[in-house]
Symmetry: C2
Subunit: 210 residues, 2 copies
């Protein structure tokens, strides 16, 4: 399959295209040129064409792209056209927010349970999903064939949680703990500290320029 | 100042160094070589040295880096050695989670208020911070000299909120809405959808390889 050679940078732009095409579709736009897409996204038209060529095109020269079809193709490339079951490990504030967040359900990612060590949280429910004892984590993943493990637990236990989830057959890990998880399964990290400190860096630079 | 020429890629690695040095410091490590740092972070030693050279070094050839000093220097480069006041616009689940999240307080970022349109939320408090009417957003920023605006509101209003915050003198915007904000002030986006769809992409690729 051709798209296994695609660079990380191209893959990272795909969700941006997807989000934008979704907005165009909602606004009733049927067709969009690479020029228009590039302008709207702050890219060059040749970059847009190159990006789409990595995955085999999608367009007819001179006709622009069919918005709906293009969005469906990107959806399939990103593999968000499938259904995923997910669990959240760490039923604190971030874990709770993610469990309530509607944006993933829409895209086929279904959180089915949360896990925690805190006896005060175990047995409760978050957005109607049970909070279970983390001791049963591995068995639960096996029994329910869980696809995605979302780590919102403390930094000090994150790697260990990732290891036990990967051992139990999880297919991917989405990590919010401030540590770079290493795993045999795919990992995506959301490092909130890195993001806010990139912002303070830019603010600091701006002040120097003033 | 030399560090205004530093590439985005280098700046983006700085928080990773910072987080790692913090762990080393907590474990009582006084000194670390570029080789050891590289190994621990999955980089090459020459990349580590190059990265630090962008900011003028920090090390003495052959002696390794003083962990505490290096962390303090990076802290200063990232401008997280200063205090920032922040507001959260959108008092829903993500906004609430961020308000409770301890990680930013530690680094000098203090959330002082939340804003919303929902009359059921206005007048309440989240982690002892008041939820105020979004109508008063601009005035509040001016009156309290707020540094950072955190957008956790709906996509459709995010750009407009960014514009009114920038107009009122905010210094930077941290955006969680699934849209790429354009502003005259620095913006950092946290796109949760992009992150999870990069994960599903990798999971999808893995299945093909199986």
């Amino acid at each position: 399959m051709e798209f296994r050679k695609v660079s990380d940078a191209v893959v990272k732009r795909m969700p941006r295209y997807y989000r934008h095409l979704k907005i165009l579709e909602e606004h009733g736009v049927d067709c969009v040129s690479s020029n228009a897409l590039a302008k709207q996204l702050g890219l060059t038209a040749s970059q847009v064409r190159q990006d789409f060529n990595c995955f085999g095109g999608f367009g007819q020269q001179g006709y622009g792209y069919n918005v709906r079809k293009l969005r469906r193709e990107i959806r399939s490339i990103l593999a968000i056209d499938k259904e995923y079951s997910a669990i959240v490990v760490g039923a604190g504030n971030i874990g709770t927010a993610i469990t309530y967040f509607g944006g993933f359900q829409e895209e086929g990612i279904h959180i089915v349970a949360l896990f925690d060590v805190d006896p005060d949280l175990i047995g409760k429910a978050v957005n109607d999903k049970p909070v279970l004892d983390v001791k049963g984590l591995g068995q639960y993943i096996k029994d329910h064939d869980i696809d995605i493990g979302i780590i919102t637990a403390r930094r000090s236990v994150a790697q260990q949680l990732a290891d036990s989830m990967a051992g139990a057959g999880i297919k991917g890990i989405w990590n919010f703990a401030p540590v770079d998880i290493v795993s045999k399964v795919p990992v995506e990290n959301v490092h909130l500290f890195d993001s806010i400190s990139n912002l303070t860096y830019k603010i600091g630079k701006n002040k120097i320029t003033d």
